[in-house]
Amino acid sequence: MAKEKLAYDEFMKGLWRENPVFVQVLGLCPLLAVTNSAVNGLAMGLASFFVLLGSSILVSLLKNYIPKQVRISCFIIIIATFVTVVDYSLAAAMPVIHKDLGAFIPLIVCNCLILGRMEAFASRNTLRMSVADAFGMGAGFLFALVALGAVREIFGVGELFGITLFGPNFEPWVIMILPPGGFITLGVMLLYFNWVEEKKNKIDKQLAAEDGVN
């Protein structure tokens, strides 16, 4: 029972409390490059999710056989293997999306989020915990990708998942689907997260002060 709770805790940690994008600011390159629509964000998120899960499982199984000195290279080769699998299966199953994402699927290898989880978590924990961690982090990354993609798509073309939202008088805010829009949207989102954090800290401090008085 206690173990189950721990695994659940690891999952929630990745999804929200230590969200890889909004809190740790990792994995920015694929995040900004492909999120000009929610569908692309979803596809990229699922691809990264699969790579993260697969390599977490493999690394945590092999952790006792990988020599410490060359561990980073081993992690990268394991990740690259999974990315190749994803790349080829996506090309076969969904050629349109594969073409949209283009060179950014192979670039999942360089996502510092994935390598970071291997080094910081999967190579030090049991299989069970690593799977929970990979699920949480993967879901957190997926959430960020879809959120960013949705915001940019709504403002940039007035659609969400390809469904038109506004009437014919809507004038699309084109800059949002171009590169600058990505930077600025993420900047504003981080600002929002900072603000929420600051407000929470203030309330915590106030509560602590009141406790002291009582």
Binding site: V25, P180, L191
Partner: protein, 193 residues
């Protein structure tokens, strides 16, 4: 202007790796707080990129035609090892140069701009010279972007009026957005594309 010159200008300004393709954002946002350091990082990146283009061309021409599915793994492994090797050689031959580039070389190898360069050059079917010029343009574009960014950040962080809430990553991203918008102005530079 010749074909090579066109490739150079277009990767340097129009399709800038950082500001248009979002490659190499980690060093761009992480190491851009000092002007001098970011300039040296840029130089080291140019160097690694040219080496990468050479490696990628050799691999593509002689090895990967037999096993295209190994492309990703072999790119990563070969580029990382060659950079490591060159680092050792530089350390032996020129300690000054090593001190200038040294600590950055291994870091740069895992930068997504490097792998992105190799993959883009392959996808575009560039030959040896085109690949090298492409690498030079991409590297100098990266240097330009990171030096501009470092300059702006140094100025801004000297000013104390900034609200505490916006400092840090959020603000850097918004500056990058504005820089990226400025670079979009180059998009009409050539009509031939």
């Amino acid at each position: 202007m010749g074909d090579l010159g066109w490739i150079f200008i277009s990767t340097l300004l129009i399709n800038n790796f950082v500001l248009a393709y979002f490659l190499g954002l980690c060093p761009f946002l992480g190491v851009s707080n000092k002007l001098e350091v970011s300039f040296r990082l840029g130089l080291a990146t140019i160097f690694v990129m040219v080496v990468t283009a050479l490696c990628a061309w050799i691999l593509n021409t002689y090895v990967l035609i037999y096993a295209p599915y190994l492309r990703l793994i072999s790119f990563i492994v070969v580029i990382a090892s060659v950079v490591q090797l060159i680092e050792m050689v530089i350390k032996k031959l020129s300690p000054t140069l090593f001190r200038a580039l040294g600590i950055f070389l291994p870091l740069i190898t895992t930068n997504c701009a490097i792998l992105g360069l190799a993959i883009f050059a392959t996808n575009k079917g560039y030959g040896l010279w085109e690949g090298l010029v492409y690498a030079l343009g991409a590297g100098m574009g990266f240097t330009l972007a990171i030096v501009l960014m470092a300059g702006i950040r140094q100025e801004v962080e000297g000013a104390n009026e900034m609200p505490r809430l916006i400092r840090g990553f959020a603000f850097n991203l918004i500056i990058s957005g504005i820089l990226s918008m400025a670079f979009m102005g180059f998009a009409g530079l050539f009509s031939s594309s």
